[in-house]
Each structure stands twice: as C-alpha cells, then as structure tokens.
C-alpha cells in the first residue's frame, strides 16, 4: 500500500515535471513574443503619433467634434487616443499569439475569433470617424445655408441634420461590430421614425405660418421678387 502511494506520487511528480518541461519552452516563447510585441507596438505607436501630428489629426478631429467629446470625457487628445489604441491592439495581438503557442484547448478558438474581429473593429472605427466628420460638415453646411437664407431656427435645422447622421453612423458601427444587431436595428428604426414624426409635427404645427409664407413666396412670384430686390444691393 505504501509502495503504491509512493509510486503514484512519484508518477504524478514525474508527470508534472514532464508537463512543466513540455510547457516551459512554450511559456518562454510566449514571453518572448509578448516582449517583441511590446517593442513593435511601442514603435508603431511612436511612428503613428508622429504621422498624426504631421497631418494635424487633432485639428481634423476638432472639426468633426470628436475632440470636444474626448475632452468632455476627460480623455487625452485624438492623436493620443488613436496611437494608444493601436498600441494596445498590436500588443494584445502578439500576447494572444503567444498564448496560442501554449496550446491551451478552447483558448485557440477564442483567439482566432479575436483576430477575425479585428478588421471589423478597424472598419467600425473608420466609419465612426468619417461619420462624425460628415455629420460636422453637413450640419455646418445646413447652418450656413439656413442663416444665409434668413430662415428661422437655423441652429435647430443644423442640429437635426447632425443628429440624423450620427444616429445613422452609430447604427452602422454597431452592425459592423455585431453588437446587439437586432436591438440596434429596432432602436434605429424607432429613433429615426420618432425624429421624422417629430419633425413633421413640429413643421406642421409650429411652422404653419412659415410654410404658408414659403408657399406664397414660391408661387406668388411678383411679391417675392419685389421683397428681394428691395432688400439687396448689387454687390458687384
């Protein structure tokens, strides 16, 4: 009996030592990969930060309104956020590659899924950035056009344009990330429908006189021309 226990214990220790000897090189490889990954991620971060500073990315993100969002959330500048994000994604990629070397069952599949998810993450970020840029551009264009056409509530029109584009952009981003697709679709439908209905009611009731004036001016040409000629001098 005693001999059996000693034998089993010896066998277990032997297996443990063999297993450790089997995993030790892989662990070292993982650590080396993590270290190399950190170095590469750091270099990528530094290069990316320089490029973004060179192309005045902060100025661009200021124009999109992204900088204001970041500053409200007490986050660093857009250049810093993007370069840090790329650093972490790059390093995490190397670490996960290292972990996969360990050959732990179940983790392999998750790691593969992470790498498949990465392109979607980048696309979502790109869509978000371009979307915010577009929202900023078109809302400003609407604001300027409304002010120069002497329309009342120019800022509300601009805000409505911005809101519609941002809602649309976020629905695309969530769809790309595969997060709560159904929920987002329904939420988008409800939000967009509510916005349109709200605008229709607002214009219908609130802007009744405005609409009447607009139609009068549109179709009673003489009156419109008389008003406009009276107001404007030939600039050239």
């Amino acid at each position: 009996m005693r001999e059996m226990i000693v034998s089993e214990l010896t066998q277990a220790l032997h297996d443990l030592a063999r297993g450790f000897a089997h995993y030790l090189p892989r662990l070292i490889v993982m650590l080396i990969l993590a270290f190399i990954g950190w170095v590469i991620a750091y270099v990528v971060k530094v290069i990316l930060r320089s490029i973004l500073q060179l192309i005045k990315f902060d100025k661009l993100s200021e124009n999109t309104g992204a900088s204001q969002l970041l500053s409200k959330a007490a986050l660093p500048t857009a250049t810093e956020v993007v370069s840090r994000f790329v650093f972490w994604v790059t390093w995490l990629g190397f670490v996960l590659t290292g972990v996969s070397v360990l050959g732990i069952l179940g983790l392999q599949e998750e790691i593969a899924r992470f790498f498949l998810f990465l392109p979607h993450l980048f696309v979502a970020m790109f869509v978000l950035f371009v979307g915010l840029l577009a929202a900023s551009f078109f809302s400003r264009a609407a604001l300027l056009a409304a002010v120069n056409a002497n329309m009342p509530s120019a800022r509300i029109i601009s805000l409505a344009v911005r809101s519609i584009i941002i809602v649309f952009v976020f629905s695309i981003v969530f769809e790309e990330l595969g997060l709560a697709e159904q929920t987002m679709l329904v939420a988008f439908g409800i939000a967009f429908g509510a916005l349109m209905l709200g605008l229709a009611i607002a214009f219908g009731f609130g802007g009744r006189e405005l609409a009447q004036r607009f139609l009068e001016e549109k179709f009673v040409r003489g009156r419109k021309e008389q008003n406009e000629n009276e107001d404007e001098l030939s600039p050239l």
């Binding site: 100025k59 124009n63 551009f137 400003r140 264009a141 604001l143 300027l144 056009a145 409304a146 002010v147 120069n148 056409a149 002497n150 120019a154 800022r155 021309e225 406009e228 000629n229 009276e230 107001d231 404007e232 001098l233 030939s234 600039p235 050239l236």
Partner: protein
C-alpha cells in the same frame, strides 16, 4: 499649341477661314437673347467707327444657350446699322459662334476666346459682357485703343455707378487688391476689359484650367495674373454701368467667385504681395470714378437683422475662423440698436484679413469660410449705407479712400497671422 485641342473642329475651320486679325472682340454668352442683339450691334458700330481699316472678328463663346443667343450674334449684319449710323466697312467683319463643352462657366468661355485670339494672332482683344444693355460704341474704342495704339497689356474699366452699387467692390475687392498687390484698380473683377495678345497667351499657358472648375471668377484671376506678371495696366472710363437687380440668394455665389478667388490666389501669390508696401495709381483714361446720387430703396433693417442673426447663430463657426477679440467685438456690435450700430473700418479689415488667413489654413471647409462671410458683409453694408445715406459723391469717395488706407495700414497684421496662425 496644346490648347487648341479643346476647340471643336468646326470652330477651328471657321477660325482658319478668318485668318489673322488685328482686333478680336470676345462675347461670352449663356441665354442672353434679351440683350445680346443690341450689344452685338453696338460692338460692330464701335469697331466701324474706331477701327474701320483693321481686320476684326467677334468671337461668341456660348455656354449652351437655349434661347437662340448664338443665332442672334451671328445673325446681326452690318446692314442692320447702315440706315442709322451711315457707316461703311472697309473690311469684312466676321462673327463666329461656338459652344464650349463644360456648360455655363466664364472660365471655359474666356479660355475659348484666348485660344481664338492666339490662333488668329489678334493684336488687341476685348471681352464684352452680354448683359451690358447700356453699352455705347465708344466703349469699344476706349478698351481697344490703349492696347492697340499705346502698348498696354490690360485695360480695366471704370464706370459711372449708383452710389450704393458694387458695395462688395468698394468695401472689399478694390481696397484689398490695392493694399495687397499695391495697384489701384477700381474694377478688378471686370465684366468688360481689354488685353494684349501677349498677356492673353501667357494667361492661357499658365492658368490651371482644369483646377479652377468651371472657372467662376476667372476675370479676377486674369487681373491678378496681369499684376503679378508685371504687365502694363491702365484703366479706361466707359460710362454708366447698368444697375442689375440681385436677389438675396445671389450674394453667396458672388462671394465665391470674387472673394473666394482672391483668397485662393493670395496663397500662390504670397511671395509677391507680402513684399509690397503702399499702393500706386495706374494710368486712367477719362474719369477714375463717377457716382450717381439717385435714391435707392434698401431694407436696412433686414440687413442688420441678418448680420445679428448670423453672428449669434454662427458663433461656433466664427470661433474657428476669427480671433477671440474679433468675435467678441462682433458680438458686442450685434447687440447694438440701429442708431448705435457701427461696423468700423478697422474691425471690418481685421475680419476680412482673419478670414483670408483662415482660408489659407483651411481651418474648416473653404467654401464654408466664404459662406460665413456673407452675414458679416451685410453688417458692413449696413454701416456703409448709414454713414453715406446723405453723403455727396466726394464724401463717399473719401470714405472709400479711408477704408483703402485702413486695409493698407493693417496689412502687416495679415502677414503676421498668415505666417503664424495654427
């Protein structure tokens, strides 16, 4: 010549049939049937009176009119004028019409005219606006003679105007071009002008025709090219400029084709204008300016309201373009009543210069920068109207001169923000 490739075969054939000419009159048109007939008759009359022995041609560059404008141009015959003018042509006066490809754009029209002038080796050329209903035969001589006889390269027009006409010209274009380029040209954006073959050929070769879209504001580019090219420039008084009714919506397109062009040219011409100080007059044939003091109906209240609304609603846009002190000052005057309202010359000049620097830095979309100037220009117009409502022609001219000097005085400020602004 590379530029002849954009001309149609039919147009080239007609040009070859004409051969070399001494005088070329360019007439850019687009749906101008109402006025173009009388304009062409006047042009013909002007040529026959002033240059009966010279070989001349009228080139109509049409942007695809649907009202029969080209037919009206080519259909006008000398015989139409004989009963009234008793003129006899010693040479055939040709009229050629061609349609250019890119729709209604003054750039494509001028390019066609310049290419024709180069092919025909015209010694003196003029461009006449088809909207000039008050054109007189003397205008032709006044524009052609300095080129043909006196060796000038560019003849800019001066007009007799209503006192409150052309306020963009008097409050921005003239003073700014004068202060920056150092040349006192009253009408840098010229509806009618004369030019030598040398200047025409050089501009044809140098101008980035593909970059400038449909070429809106090409007239101003032409003037600035003549200035920076060191050409001999003079002004010639033509007569009364017709008051053309404008709609409120026309202001922004007008700003694009004038102020937008000027701002974009400042970028490429920086090495020229940044070294210029003061300004010099150019030789002027006839009166440099004349004002008519007829009363005009203007809704001043609406101008001021649009300014105040613009300052309030566009605050975020102005904060991207203007310095905090300028924004603060604009907000202060926007709150003032009609009688106290004063958009001073100094504030206006600072505003314009900061807009120019913001345009160069592209702090936001350049087109948005130009659009944002419209409500501020209305505010300046309001002040100009109030200051000059009962002023004499001399007093108005003194006020314009004062504004010009303010533009010249503050030029170092523009250079400073141009170089340093982030």
């Amino acid at each position: 010549m590379e530029d002849e490739t954009f001309l149609t075969d039919d147009f080239l054939r007609q040009l070859i049939n004409v051969g070399e000419v001494d005088i070329l009159v360019g007439l850019p048109t687009h749906n101008n049937a109402k006025t173009v007939g009388s304009v062409v008759q006047t042009i013909r009359s002007g040529i026959l009176r002033g240059f009966p022995r010279e070989r001349a041609v009228i080139i109509n560059a049409d942007g695809g009119s649907r009202d029969g404008t080209p037919e009206l141009v080519t259909g006008v015959s000398i015989d139409d004028m004989r009963p009234t003018t008793n003129l006899n042509a010693l040479r055939t006066l040709h009229s050629i019409s061609t349609t250019y490809a890119n729709g209604a754009g003054s750039g494509a029209a001028l390019r066609t005219i310049l290419a024709a002038a180069e092919l025909l080796r015209a010694k003196a050329c003029i461009v006449i606006s088809p909207e000039s209903a008050r054109i007189e035969p003397e205008w032709i001589s006044n524009l052609l003679r300095p080129i043909y006889r006196d060796g000038f390269d560019l003849v800019a027009p001066t007009y007799r105007r209503q006192k409150f006409d052309g306020l963009l010209m008097t409050n921005l274009l003239y003073p700014m071009v004068r202060a920056l380029y150092g040349v006192r040209i009253r009408e840098a954006y010229m509806p009618e002008f004369g030019f030598s073959n040398r200047l025409g050929s050089r501009f044809l070769a140098q101008n980035g025709w593909n970059e400038s879209g449909n070429g809106a504001g090409i007239e101003l580019r032409f003037t600035l090219a003549a200035i920076t090219g060191g050409c001999r420039i003079c002004q010639s008084f033509l007569g009364e400029k017709e008051h053309i009714e404008r709609r409120a919506a026309d202001l922004v397109p007008t700003l694009r084709q004038t102020v937008g062009v000027l701002f974009s040219k400042l970028e490429s011409d920086f090495s020229v204008w940044s070294t210029v100080s003061g300004s010099r007059p150019v030789p002027t044939i006839g009166s440099e300016h004349e004002l008519l003091l007829d009363p005009m109906r203007v809704n001043r209240k609406r101008l001021r309201e649009m300014f105040s609304t613009g300052v309030a609603e566009l605050e975020s846009v102005f904060r991207s373009i203007l310095s905090p002190s300028t924004v603060g000052e604009l907000q202060r005057i926007a709150r003032l009543g009609e009688e106290q309202f004063q958009y001073s010359a100094e504030l206006w000049v600072r505003t314009v210069y900061e807009f120019a620097a913001a345009y160069q830095k592209s702090v936001i979309s350049r087109d948005h920068i130009i659009q944002a100037l419209a409500p501020l220009f209305r505010g300046r117009v309001f002040t100009f109207l109030m200051e000059n409502r009962s002023a004499s022609a001399n007093e108005i001219e003194n006020n314009i001169e004062g504004l010009c000097l303010e533009f010249e005085r503050l030029k170092p400020y523009l250079v400073e923000i141009w170089k340093s602004r982030e």
